[in-house]
């Protein structure tokens, strides 16, 4: 009898406490399930897939896309889009190489990259926020414009880090690690934590959600919608600048025509997989972190299964669509 009661109580416990929790997890954070599923699939392809080293590699490869995606999450939550991030990365990295070559200072390079990235994003923000042009158009235009400047700037060829101190100061950042955790991954995690804090613990974070949720209502509560939009695009630019800095440390050169090219697509995909609503108003920074990892897990699995490269993108596209459709099916808000 006592045993039965315990079972019953456990069952009720499950019903009352775990079920809503799991349901919420599944509805809002299903990227976690996608990730687990993908990792299990990967396990079939290779015994080594789930080894710590291989998992760490997965996160490491998603760092560049992931850091930019943190900013893109804000952009998309606010109901906008930024197509120019790939070009911002290219231009910022190109300028960053020149700064490093002429100064040899890692600190100045970092500051320069942040500032230039932020400034390029700020320009996007001005057009979207003040001039009220659709973000899609503004960033489509700056995407081509920034890329063109980059190519002019580099004279068409690659810009290579030539300063002698590269191996002493820059390269250790791109390749170094503390206790098996690469600096790049630490950087990514740190930025994720900061952005999580911004979005969850500050007034600004609430404004971003409010603007994406109902711009008219947000304005009527006294939110300066224009300023919020400018800030969002500037932050995305800044994060892209930081990604550009890491890009230099990792690769030591920037091909002006291709660096960061079509990054925007992977970035948006990572945000979408991470559960951020493409209609704005809802989304999670932590989701984007996992979204970026999932994106690269797909890549890793496809190559583990020796899928030819040209089919790669097709399968990726289908999986992204599937992820977003799943969210749409699960996340039904009542239409009152």
């Amino acid at each position: 009898m006592g045993n039965n009661e315990t079972i019953l109580r456990n069952r009720n416990n499950f019903k009352n406490e775990w079920k809503p929790f799991l349901k919420n997890l599944f509805i809002h954070h299903n990227y976690i399930f996608s990730l687990i599923l993908l990792l299990l699939i990967g396990r079939f392809a290779s015994d080594q897939f789930l080894s710590p080293a291989s998992l760490m590699n997965l996160v490491k490869s998603s760092v560049f896309i992931g850091i930019i995606a943190l900013g893109m999450t804000l952009v998309i939550i606010s109901g906008n889009i930024d197509l120019s991030v790939g070009s911002i990365l290219g231009l910022t990295a190109a300028i960053g190489v020149v700064i490093f070559n002429s100064t040899g200072s890692i600190f100045l390079t970092l500051i320069g990259c942040s500032f230039i990235g932020g400034f390029l994003g700020f320009i996007n923000g001005l057009f979207v926020g003040l001039a009220k042009v659709a973000a899609f158009i503004v960033t489509l235009a700056t995407m081509t414009a920034y890329r063109s400047i980059t190519i002019q700037f580099g004279g068409g060829g690659p810009l290579i880090v030539e300063n002698d101190s590269y191996f002493d100061v820059l390269r250790p950042i791109g390749y170094g690690k503390i206790f098996t955790i690469p600096y790049l991954v630490l950087f990514f995690i740190l930025l994720t934590l900061i952005m999580w804090f911004v979005m969850n613990k500050t007034k600004f974070g609430r404004y971003v959600y409010a603007v994406g949720s109902n711009e008219k209502a947000a304005r009527l509560t006294g939110i300066k919608v224009e300023i919020v939009k400018i800030a969002i695009f500037s932050i995305t630019g800044l994060l892209t600048g930081l990604a550009a800095f890491l890009y230099i440390t990792r690769f030591g050169s920037v091909d002006v025509a291709t660096a960061g090219k079509s990054f925007e697509l992977d970035v948006i995909a990572a945000v979408a997989i991470g559960g951020t609503s493409m209609a704005g108003g809802r989304g999670f920074i932590q989701g984007t972190f996992f979204g970026a990892v999932v994106l690269y897990a797909i890549d890793a699995i496809l190559s583990a299964f020796l899928v030819p490269a040209f089919v790669n993108d097709l399968i990726k596209g289908i999986l992204i669509l599937g992820a977003v459709l799943l969210q749409k099916a699960l996340d039904r808000t009542p239409e009152d």
Binding site: R206, S213, N214, A217, L220, T221, G222, I223, T333, P334
Partner: protein, 516 residues
């Protein structure tokens, strides 16, 4: 007698349209109950009723947009109980909606023939013919609109006339006009009436929906009055006067529940509006608010009331005039500046203008505190929960977890959250635009108590409302607007619905409009 003959005989003697005992519910809300309406051949029939009286529902049933739950529709004595928009079009019923259904990026003639395009061989558009027909119809209506102009270049009244032209373009027998004159100038109204009389001479009938008494009396033959979804009466306009018509329209007994309010008005002007004008919406508005006073502003659709409320809050640019708040001119350049100066606003249309649907209850509540009062950029969960708890008690919000989405609450509770959003700011002036829109009776009463409480705390309250019972319950004074001007001011003691309607419909300006 052969059946065909009987049928013909019936056709000869029957009304053009008979709607018998029509009922239609939306969920628990009975929009119309057992309403009957008949329109004779060759008549202009006035359909009267306040907002929410069921006029639009009834007309949507006739237009085939809604299906009635019960009741019969006879056209020429023949039953047509299952109307669809297409079927109703085939029967010669044209519906001119109140809101414009034109596509701005198409030309006038393209809009006229939208979905009814004339073609050569079924594919190639016969533009020449469409343009020729468009000219023809405008000539008939005595209008100088260029069919080749883009609709976006025309002003609202012209667009309204195009809607009417669209209805006249094809064979029709009965035209439904839902408040067609709200955007029209007096001359345009006059020429619309000429068109209607011309149509009548051609044997085309009309159902004319309006609250404007002078217009109804000058153009309509018979009337049907609806109130609260029920049929009230029907007859000839020649047998009644405007006073009687307004009484039928209003009818209901006065408030049952009384909202207690202590006399708390202090003779000190807190908020003064001087010669405020916003071109196209309202002109030269002057009034002032005393400390502890509740002033209601009312009127009918198209009176510029909504735009006035936006101007006062800095949400819409004024053309000229000024607002004085406690002896200082209010700078309305930005909303946040207005809020910080001490003016709060609960906007109309909660879903569209107040609710941040993806945010939690407590975030919705705290938002304007964040923007105007809180200096620190960081949010403290503890402080936010405390703020929620205080407000939950004062406004009696019924909610579970403050972290739940705002959309999980009922309409009334959502509105209480929106009210709470502004209460904490301790403003001097509260502008409430349609504060009880779409909430149930119980919650309405609670909102009235909150408004009264505000006044008793020495706040000045300006309530924009279209519901008289509400105004009667809470207002110390009432300003009645008509076509962008304050037409009349009532003090609490003189306030009665019939008089308010009289001025809201512009009946006192009858001479200025037009005679029959």
């Amino acid at each position: 007698m052969p059946a065909l003959f009987i049928n013909l005989l019936q056709r000869e003697n029957s009304m053009l349209l008979e709607m018998k005992n029509i009922s239609k519910s939306f969920g628990a809300v009975k929009a119309v109950q057992n309403v009957s309406l008949s329109v004779d051949k060759v008549e202009i029939h006035g359909l009267l009723g306040e907002n929410g009286a069921g006029k639009s529902t009834l007309m949507n049933v006739l237009g085939g947009i809604l299906r009635q739950d019960s009741g019969e529709i006879l056209i020429d004595g023949v039953e047509h109980n299952h109307l669809t928009p297409i079927k109703s079009g085939h029967l010669g019923i044209r519906f001119i909606h109140q809101e414009l259904n034109l596509i701005n990026d198409l030309k006038v003639f393209e809009n006229l023939f939208l979905n009814n395009e004339m073609t050569r061989g079924g594919l190639y558009l016969n533009k020449k013919e469409m343009i020729r027909k468009s000219y023809e119809i405008f000539e008939k209506m005595n209008l100088d609109i260029d069919p080749l102009a883009y609709v976006r270049e025309l002003d609202t009244s012209r667009k309204q006339l195009i809607e009417i032209a669209k209805a006249l373009l094809f064979e029709c027998r009965l035209i439904i006009m839902d408040e067609p004159t709200t955007a029209l100038t007096n001359e345009e109204i006059e020429s619309l009436f000429d068109i209607m009389r011309g149509l009548k001479a051609e044997g085309i009938s009309c159902i004319y929906i309006s609250h404007k008494m002078p217009e109804l009396f000058s153009i309509c033959d018979r009337y049907t009055v609806l109130r609260d979804g029920k049929f009230i009466s029907s007859g000839n306009f020649s047998d009644i006067n405007e006073q009687q018509a307004t009484e039928m329209l209003v009818g209901r007994s006065m408030a049952d529940d009384v909202v207690e309010k202590n006399d708390c008005i202090i003779d000190e002007d807190v908020f003064q509006v001087e010669d405020l004008t916003c071109e196209g919406f309202f002109n030269n508005i002057n009034f002032s608010l005393k400390k502890g006073e509740i002033v209601a502003v009312t009127g009918l659709f198209g009176d510029g009331r909504g735009e006035l409320s936006e101007c006062l809050f800095g949400a819409r640019k004024m053309t000229s005039g000024k607002i004085i708040l406690k002896d200082n001119e209010l700078n309305t350049r930005s909303i946040i500046n207005v809020i910080r100066s001490g003016v709060s606003m609960v906007p109309r249309n909660r879903k569209e203008r107040s609710i941040l649907k993806d945010l939690s209850i407590k975030d919705n509540l705290s938002m304007s505190y964040f923007t105007s009062k809180q200096i620190s950029p960081l949010i403290s969960n503890r402080v936010e929960n405390k703020r929620y708890e205080i407000n939950r008690k004062t406004t009696n919000i019924k909610a579970g977890d403050p972290d739940d989405l705002i959309t999980s609450l009922s309409g009334g509770n959502q509105q209480k959250v929106v009210f709470s959003r502004w209460f904490g700011l301790d403003s001097d002036v509260y502008i409430l635009d349609n504060p009880t829109q779409g909430i149930d009776v119980g919650a309405k009463f609670e909102i009235y108590q909150l408004i009264t409480k505000l006044a008793e705390q020495g706040k000045s309250v300006l309530v924009f409302s279209s519901e008289f019972p509400e105004i009667h319950k809470i207002a110390d004074r009432c300003l009645v607007m008509y076509k962008g001007e304050i037409n009349k001011e009532f003090s609490r003691n003189d306030l009665n619905e019939v008089d308010v309607m009289y001025y809201a419909t512009g009946s006192n300006k009858k001479g200025e409009v037009h005679g029959k």
